[in-house]
Amino acid sequence: MEINELERMARAIRRRDLEAVYAAGAGHIGGEMSVIDILTALYFRVLKVYPDQPKHPGRDRFVLSKGHTACALYVTLAKRGFLPEEEIATFLAPHSRLNGHPNCNKVPGVETNTGPLGHGLPVAIGMAKAAKLSGAGYHTYVVTGDGEMQEGSNWEAIMAAAQFGLDNLTLVIDHNRFQQGASLADTNGLAPLRPRLEAFGWEVAEINGNAMAEVVPALEHRASRPYCIVAHTNKGHGISFMQDRVDWHHKVPNKDQYEIALAELSEAL
């Protein structure tokens, strides 16, 4: 897909995500809105994936480590043909396979179960290391939240990736500057991320993670070392009153707010 088509797709995914969270009465809409441009670029341009053969051995691997934004992943997977789009209506419903965090044993296209923060990167390093051992050509991508980077497990993994020389791994940090209860700066500030990653031996790019024209080339870039994209994003991106407001981490819009948000996202379509 070209950049303008990807932008249209991202807006459609935002809209469907908003509808699903509103209907379910729960979700993590702020972090979903911030990450959707990255997910869209991955699934509709960058990743080599096979919706009719989700376990194709040569597929690129993608891990959504910030598993609380599962709904955005479900919508993206549905739009890409991994599951029926109608099924999004079952998000969080009793017995649905679409619960609040992605389940790889139930949902096609999900590689590993996430939900507890700080798990995705170590698993992604195992995937990339496996490709090195087997000679497989796939690339591994993992997206973490910025608050999630407070977990020590991530830094253990960052050291391992450099030690293993994993040039087939891309970490995207969704740097929306907010976590659950407050800003990172008021909790456990990690900024600036770039020099920290560089000090651990990674190549680092910084981009506007909500600008498709910057997201695509950054994701397509291949480095000679483990590679991290610090994606500067807005929590709640695309919905004016949610942007950069911490309470929208997991708040659910009321009817009026829902209609305003829907109108804003539709206008852009």
Binding site: L92, P94, R97, G152, Q179, A182, T187, N188
Partner: protein, 325 residues
């Protein structure tokens, strides 16, 4: 063990309460009179209801960020430095993520740290098995030095928090957010390792704690309508378990049913069974999550599906009575 409550309030006042509010109020009251009280958390100010504490005692709220292993270690260090830390986090991450810190830094070191697991059991419902904490009794009750306590209502929650502050040693308090009715009398004083007799009966004993206590009490009422008199024990303390009450129940009623918002492996039912097997073998039935990762649904829905509606508990108890010798 106390005398049976003449009038359990369950049937009179069906209003439900979130025990986190009682926890937060009690902690704030303790902090107001004891300047050593500190709260430690992992970006969980809202979910642990620490907003009021943060406003009143901002310098005594230690928020380490999303870093549970660090959080528990920091708690141990704060205790070493003479503070009285209440380490508050979602039960799943507190116990699952930081289990080795709990073992080495808290239990083995015997650090005076109060671990408060919030939204335990399946309280996170639709968020799925990563967020369910139905293994925490099993993981914590094997650790020496670490009392494990799951209060049944807001009154027992407040009493247990007060007890914890006065107890010189670590403990794990397992709280929920699922609404429960008042069961224990106002002014109830928590005693470690002592069950509360909520109903007298001689045909079978029902034992539960946490969110299941009110369900077994209702089941006992249904059993009475069928001519079966059930003894009902609220057993908040899973370790040290009330051996005296369990042995008496086995000898005097001849059958024991347990129910818990936890896996049937390793929890309250297992702890009761260990005592029964060693001291007074009688038929038992353990109700709980049957050793599976739950599917999508609320805690209440899942408890119902796993056979813990009051009528299903009553049926299981009636079947158990049939097995008595």
């Amino acid at each position: 063990m106390n005398a049976p409550l003449s009038q359990p309030k369950l049937f009179a006042t069906p209003q439900l309460f979130d025990c986190r509010d009682a926890f937060a109020e009690t902690l704030e009251a303790l902090a107001a009179t004891d300047e050593t009280v500190v709260a430690v958390c992992n970006d969980s100010v809202g979910s642990s209801k620490l907003g009021g504490f943060k406003t009143k005692f901002p310098e005594r709220l230690v928020n380490v960020g999303i870093a549970e292993q660090n959080m528990v270690g920091v708690g141990a260090g704060l205790a070493n430095g003479g503070r009285l830390p209440f380490v508050c986090a979602a039960a799943c991450f507190l116990t699952g993520r930081a289990l080795e810190q709990i073992k080495a830094d808290i239990a083995y070191s015997n650090a005076n740290v109060k671990l408060v697991g919030i939204s335990s059991g399946m309280a996170y419902g639709e968020l799925g098995p990563t967020h369910h904490s139905i293994e925490d009794f099993a993981w914590t009750r094997v650790l020496p030095n670490l009392p494990v306590i799951a209060p049944a209502d807001r009154i027992e929650t407040a009493a247990a928090i007060r007890w914890a502050a006065s107890y010189a040693g670590p403990c794990f308090l397992r709280l929920s957010r699922v609404g429960v009715p008042d069961l224990l009398p106002e002014g109830h004083v928590f005693e470690l390792g002592k069950a509360n007799l909520l109903r007298e009966g001689g045909d079978v004993t029902l034992i539960a704690n946490g969110t299941l206590t009110h369900r077994i009490l209702t089941a006992a009422k249904l059993l009475a309508e069928r001519g079966i008199e059930a003894r009902v024990l609220n057993m908040a303390t899973v370790r040290p378990i009330d051996e005296t009450a369990i042995i008496a129940a086995a000898r005097e009623t001849g059958a024991i049913l347990t129910a818990e918002e936890h896996s049937i492996f390793g929890g309250l039912g297992s702890a009761v069974a260990e005592v029964v097997v060693d001291h007074a073998p009688v038929p038992m039935k353990r109700l709980g999550v049957p050793g599976v990762f739950a599917h999508t649904g609320s805690a209440e829905m899942l408890l119902d599906e796993y056979g813990m509606t009051p009528p299903a508990i009553a049926d299981a108890a009636a079947a158990l009575v049939q097995r008595k010798g």
